[in-house]
Subunit: 365 residues, 2 copies
């Protein structure tokens, strides 16, 4: 029947896509550098740090577009600067709302346990809120809290009129039912936009989602701010996660692109990708998308943020995207860097969604 289900994909949700990408089913393990078709499988986190650490220009030279030889240089899409601009706009809008109706948007974050990475994400979100004038509320519960305690706090935030957005920082401790907890956030405050009702509305023409998920919203925003036309263009989204790939494809289709979704079961992904005017890659596989995958002049949005070993770095690793940046720069007309591309946009869109929520609740135009 038509209801066969995925069994190997993560249902995790979060506003910070980066840390989830390595968990999604579309992660790719590269074998012997460049086997085509690629063998796909569940990601092994140790591989993330030991496989491809730089692009190898020797890959499939026979299929490299002729234009690559010309060493053209793509425009770098500066996500950091655009995100700053958006945050300034949000900040101004928040001042206007405060002056007019005395309301300040509020974002509540619930953190359970002592994971350092989670603590860092929460700290960054709080700082971002402060920088634009959003009140942030944090509940930090110990690792051994009960599900009931988490639900109690969510319920409190659901009822609190000063809170316009609620985030539950993932992952939750393993003794908790993540789906139960996420479902308890009322849809009007679900600023992550991952509720199936929102995704359904995103998929349907004539319907409006309450919130658009932050990372894909950030991708489209980058295209808009750089004046990249979308209507009538071929777009390929690599990856079909609930938090990036699927909503990104739906958003592109809403903007009248002709969209193809490439995923772990796709044969010859490079052939399909090479047809695209716009590529959004969100698989969490370092340097998977090579220059030979990119049509000359295409625009490339690289959502991957993958740590790879780097002895020269003080941290012992550096971050790279899904796309081999140096090769993409020679073929694409524009490309996002990693870091500094989509990453800063995700938090900017979270702030934007929180502002949208507050404006909607108070009917402020």
């Amino acid at each position: 029947m038509a209801t066969a289900m995925f069994t190997d994909c993560s249902t995790s949700t979060t506003a910070a896509a980066a840390r989830f990408l390595p968990l999604n089913r579309d992660a790719v393990v590269l074998h012997s550098r460049r086997s085509v078709p690629l063998r796909f499988g569940p990601i092994n986190s140790s591989l993330l740090r030991t496989t491809v650490t730089k692009c190898h220009a020797s890959a499939s030279p026979s299929v490299l577009p002729a234009a690559m030889a010309a060493e053209t240089s793509a425009k770098i899409i500066d996500g950091k600067s655009i995100a700053k601009q958006i945050r300034d706009e949000i900040s101004a809008e928040i001042s206007r709302m405060k002056d007019n109706i005395g309301v300040v948007p509020g974002l509540a974050v619930i953190l359970v346990g002592d994971r350092k990475d989670s603590a860092t994400y929460v700290r960054n979100k709080k700082k971002a809120c402060e920088s634009v004038g959003i009140n942030s509320y944090e509940v930090h519960l110990p690792e051994d809290s009960t599900e009931q305690e988490v639900l109690k706090h969510i319920s409190g935030f659901n009822d609190d009129p000063s809170v316009h957005g609620i985030l539950v920082q993932l992952p939750l401790p393993s003794h908790m039912n993540e789906q139960n907890i996420l479902n308890s956030v009322c849809i009007e405050k679900d600023v992550d936009g991952f509720h199936p009702l929102n995704i359904g509305r995103l998929a349907m023409c004539g319907r409006e989602p309450l919130f658009v998920p932050c990372t894909p919203k950030g991708c489209i925003e980058l295209l808009h701010r750089y004046g990249v036309p979308i209507e009538g263009k071929r777009a390929v989204v690599i990856g079909r996660s609930n938090i990036v790939g699927t909503p990104a494809a739906l958003l592109l289709q809403r903007e009248d692109a002709t969209v193809s979704v490439v995923h772990s079961r796709t044969k010859n992904p490079e052939v399909i990708t090479r047809q695209a005017d716009i590529i959004i890659s969100a698989v969490g596989q370092p340097n998977m998308v090579r220059g030979s995958w990119i049509k000359p002049g295409a625009v490339v949005i690289d959502v991957g943020i993958n740590p790879v070993e780097d002895a020269k770095s003080a941290r012992g690793y550096r971050l790279v995207g899904d796309v081999c940046h140096e090769e993409a720069c020679k073929t694409a007309s524009a490309v996002t860097p990693v870091p500094g591309g989509v990453g800063p946009m995700t938090i900017a869109m979270l702030l934007s969604n929180t502002l949208t929520s507050a404006k909607r609740m108070h009917n402020f135009k």
Copy 2:
């Protein structure tokens, strides 16, 4: 921003897709026989009966695949026979449920006004219900009923434990708010499966929709019953309506096809379509998909049911699909006829959804 909306698409919903196809935004008006790219626009119902009434083999001969010359003959996918088989299976399952727990599934249909076509659809659904042992309940309200009266009846069916599925026959009289009325059907009885929550669950990995919309479910069921492999195949869905195209694309992706959606803003739709191993066309445009659009050996599911003038027919018209059947037969490996392909599957899937609903409500395995 990423929230630009369609303004020209129908939000109508129904289990019988055929009559809605001419209303959807992806309907195509053919100009001067074969202009490429095609000009798309809102459908004009008079054109439906006066434009292409037969396939013209002269179309783009230069791009016809060589294999077409071989006059191969596609397998005809017999929807009528498969639908009969499914109805027999449903009938047996209903007997088993009745024998075991004494429950008979019930489908309620609400019809407002005196449209002859609507009356015919309702009568056909009732007959289909009877043929498999589903109780059908009908409320027929006069054209000048109030919205409140319709809502009262829906509310009654929502609360009635003998009713497991509720259909509101569309279109409703213009003085009623269709969305209000459809939204009042409780999601557990929304056997059409068009609720955004269902569509969202369909789009998301790890989530299960309560109901899969009948027509796209019927398309996938045909592929399954004919043993057509889907995983890893290229699929093109032509049309992105809420009731067929979009859910069909989501279903194919759930089955691990690599899916591209072709629509009214797509440039060179025939080039993209020709890459597909599986084509599902649902645009409501007679004979739009020509032989030259079809890769030799592809499987073609034709959802369109379009009336075209036919002086030889007693009715003055005959029904044709979106696909030029005679050309498709020479190129495809298998193709659905119109009528007798997807059409009979839609009602079979409605019966299947009603049975599913009754089994779920009574926890009958």
